[in-house]
């Protein structure tokens, strides 16, 4: 009798564990939604990154003890307002097409005297690790909020970047035969329950591109567009995309131009 009861209670416990495991996934989704709600009611936590970024922009740093305030983001030295909407673009001083992140690297090198390696180190923050790049990106992006995307893509190098980015978008490879197009080439598709924007269609491209950088509730971090590309290539089973590499900038050029005319509304909040 005693023995059966014990067995029964063990079985009961095991059952409870099983059920707990089964609902664990569901619960974490619920928790995520709760955190999302909390984040929304407090305003966008990305504001903390924006404020830190603005301070970093003005702070004298690096071997040359200089701020970034003279950095030309494409609209002239020191002009931050609207800069995100014209990037990526061609810069004569580097003879390259640059996105925001690569341009910030350029300015950290030329104005502040950092080596390119130092400027590119730690491109993405993580738990307990705050990096300057995320904050600077959040700040500059926030200064374009509410403005329309307006990437020129008219200089020959800009056109070349666009065409190469487009080619990479449709390039299938790796163990799963995936390209960006597999997941972002058709309307109204989803993976599991996550909606997939059709990045070849104007309205979706505008909405998707205009929402990055973003504060990701599930990660508690502000994530840049460079991060977004890096993580999608991981899901694509490709090797690791290097921060501000030529392919990353070409792809950004393709997607940013597809988003032209759309209202830029970032840093946003995402799951």
């Amino acid at each position: 009798m005693k023995r059966t009861r014990r067995t029964a209670s063990v079985l009961c416990l095991l059952g409870a564990f099983g059920a707990a495991a089964a609902i664990a996934q569901q619960r974490s989704a619920v928790e995520e939604i709760e955190r999302y709600r909390a984040a929304l009611s407090d305003g966008n936590p990305a504001e903390l990154w924006e404020a830190r970024g603005e301070a970093l922009w003005k702070e004298k740093r690096g071997p040359k003890n200089a701020s970034l305030e003279r950095c030309d983001l494409g609209l002239g030295p020191g002009i931050v307002k609207g800069a995100y909407t014209v990037l990526p673009r061609y810069f004569a001083d580097t003879d390259k097409v640059e996105d925001l992140e690569s341009r910030l690297v350029t300015c950290m090198v030329s104005l502040q005297g950092l080596t390119p390696e130092q400027a590119k180190k730690d491109p993405f923050g993580g738990p307990g690790k705050k990096v300057p790049m995320d904050a600077l990106v959040a700040y500059v992006a926030s200064e374009s909020r509410g403005m329309k995307m307006n990437v020129a893509a008219s200089h020959p190098k800009e056109r070349e970047a666009y065409e190469l980015g487009k080619t990479i978008f449709f390039y299938r490879g790796g163990t799963h035969d995936f390209g960006c197009v597999t997941c972002h080439g058709a309307d109204a598709k989803r993976i599991r329950l996550q909606d997939l924007p059709n990045l070849t269609a104007t309205a979706d491209a505008q909405r998707a591109y205009g929402g990055w950088p973003a504060y990701r509730v599930s990660q508690g971090e502000v994530r840049s567009f460079q991060w977004r590309l890096n993580d999608c290539f991981r899901q694509q089973r490709f090797p690791e995309l290097e921060f501000v590499s030529p392919a990353s900038i070409a792809l950004t050029m393709y997607l940013a131009k597809n988003a032209n005319g759309g209202v830029f509304d970032a840093p946003s909040i995402k799951r």
Partner: protein, 208 residues
């Protein structure tokens, strides 16, 4: 040759030259993009740079998207070549254990540089397909496979088709968005049998 004939031939030549230069431009661009990618990625974990190298299916299919449908002769060439590469189970049995198949269909791990290569990969079928009624978190890149066996018939031919389809999707539908799970070594023979059982076993929740 009269003038009309001459004009027709000249026009044909011009069109051909146009096509050739368009094609050359595109393959030029692809070559340039590949060079760019080779300097833009770094090896990480199990994902080496050779993942960027395309095989024939990948190279061919990357050219067709949007409104450019795969021409029939190209599709036939791919389907024939890929069909010849399928290795069916030596024991002639296509059905494994649907319970294990369900786990494989749920599992999204495998082949990413963040994944442990010592662990078996999943099929992540739910990422793209509806399968059982119980799982409401399914994607829509692929068609619904709900009641697959019940609708198609629990026949040996259909079992064999399902096995071949999961092993090498391109053998039946050129330039499909579905991975070639057996061909690319994502799933083992036993794992494929298990997901085929999920689709084809009358007891499987896919068919209930």
């Amino acid at each position: 040759m009269n003038t009309a004939q001459f004009a027709a031939i000249a026009a044909a030549v011009a069109v051909l030259a146009g096509c050739a230069s368009m094609f050359a431009e595109r393959s030029d661009l692809t070559a340039q993009a590949v060079t760019m990618m080779k300097t833009s990625f770094k090896e990480q974990g199990q994902a080496k740079l050779d993942r960027i190298d395309q095989d024939d299916v990948q190279r061919t299919c990357s050219q067709y998207h949007g409104d450019a449908a795969v021409p029939r002769d190209v599709a036939e060439r791919i389907e024939k070549a890929e069909a010849a590469r399928i290795s069916y189970p030596a024991d002639g049995k296509y059905l494994g254990d649907w319970k294990s198949g369900e786990k494989i269909a749920q599992a999204g791990v495998g082949m990413q540089y963040s994944d442990d290569p010592a662990q078996p990969s999943g099929g992540n079928c739910y990422a793209c397909h509806e399968l059982t009624q119980a799982e409401v978190s399914y994607g829509t890149i692929g068609p619904s496979l709900r009641n697959f066996g019940k609708v198609r018939g629990f026949t040996p031919e259909m079992q064999k088709y399902a096995y071949g389809k999961v092993f090498n999707s391109e053998a039946f539908f050129a330039c499909s968005n579905m991975p070639r799970f057996g061909q690319k070594g994502i799933l083992t023979e036993q794992q494929i049998k298990d997901v085929v059982a999920l689709l084809m076993d009358p007891q499987s929740p896919v068919n209930r």
